[in-house]
Amino acid sequence: MSMWNKKEDTPAPRPASVPPAPPPAPEIKKEPTPVSSTPFRAPDAEARNAATIGKSVRIVGQIFAKEDLYVDGDVEGTIESQENKITIGPNGRVQASIRARDVIILGQVQGNVETSDKVDIRKDAKLVGDITTARISIEDGALFKGSIDIKKPEPKVSTPTPVATPPRPVETTSHTPANTGAAATTTR
């Protein structure tokens, strides 16, 4: 009986004396964190997860990117990121032709813009140049001078059907579906 209802009548022996508390650590004086007088601003949504050209950077030449790109500085030349998004930030001043999947403009661009999907010109942005795109959005207050040419994306062929074709002259590029899609965005 007592086996199942075992009670410990005697409390567990406690140490006779409580070990002395460890000596207090030397007080560390926390230095105040330097705080900017300007409120903290989270980076723009467009700038997140994108390679960034800061507003104090000036680049003359060609830029090729394989990821999203955020340009807040000065660029002169060409900017290309065929499969990704290029954002020209509010401080961005670009004298370049731009080719990308999507282009968002908040700053100033002088040059042609060519996208396979969408061009988005935000309020207070300025674009002087011709646009070739599938979709376009222009906010009130934006300044745009140029032409807009809408090119609907060609439907992608899912399964290439084997068709007996006559021999063709040798070409340097292969006609894969991806290349077909890229062809829709070639210059006029």
Binding site: I138, S147, I148
Partner: protein
């Protein structure tokens, strides 16, 4: 007796007499401006956007019906409504903002006689290949140009527009040189526009039917639509 009845109609609850009828929604911007001026409102206060029918616009698009792939010059400045409308018709859009660019190229209206500045303005705004434009929506931009600039712009339009193409222009039908409001124009459908006042500018000159016929003398035909708002809508065939 009649005047007393009219006064009683406009009498307010506090007993003061006011002769300011509230502008109806369909009232024109010109009428609203007159009411605002009479009530001593600030000149910089802008009238609310107004939606109105436009016979000129209807005629313009009627002439372009059943044709796609045209090059249309829109001089109202880029806005989503006009771009969407023209793109949905299957056209290519050339966007310019002539009124805004007047400020960039000329200090004031007196500078619009300077041949060098005029050439610069044409280079900046109407530098298109000859006979490349199938239709031009000039809206009210021409009425803010003085005679030398206006003649040069019309001459350049004649060069860049294709034969048998059309242009649409609006002129305020005033008999004296006054400041007139400039508007932004948004196309709601093929015969409806939304006008939003941008600012008030001095008119370049007084326009009447005769002066407009003379202005577009090189063009094939000029057709006028006089609206209730003292606005001449002009369709010109190249």
């Amino acid at each position: 007796m009649l005047s007393e009845r009219l006064r009683s109609l406009f009498r307010r609850d506090n007993g003061t007499v006011s002769y300011e009828p509230k502008p109806a929604a369909s009232q024109s911007t010109a009428a609203m401006r007159a009411v605002a001026a009479a009530s001593g409102k600030n000149r910089n206060q802008r009238a609310a956007p107004v939606t109105r029918q436009s016979r000129g616009l209807e005629q313009f698009f009627y002439n372009l019906r059943d044709i796609v792939g045209l090059s249309i010059l829109d001089c109202a400045g880029a806005n989503q409504d006009n771009i969407d409308f023209l793109i949905n018709l299957g056209h290519k859009v050339y966007s310019q903002d002539l009124v805004r660019n007047l400020d960039d190229c000329f200090q004031d209206i007196s500078e619009q006689t300077n041949p060098g500045r005029i050439e610069y303005f044409l280079k900046q705004n109407l530098d298109y290949p000859p006979e490349s434009i199938d239709g031009a929506l000039l809206w009210d931009s021409l009425q803010f140009m003085s005679a030398p600039l206006l003649n040069a712009v019309v001459e350049r339009l004649f060069e860049v527009m294709k034969p048998q193409s059309y242009l649409l222009a609006f002129f305020t039908a005033t008999e004296k040189m006054t400041d007139v409001p400039s508007h932004s124009f948004r196309i709601a459908d093929n015969k409806t526009i939304v006008l939003a006042e941008r600012d008030v500018r001095p008119a370049g000159q007084v326009f009447n039917n005769r002066s407009l016929e003379k202005l577009f003398g090189k063009f094939e035909s000029v057709k006028f639509f006089l609206t209730r708002e003292s606005l001449r809508e002009v369709i010109v065939r190249r």
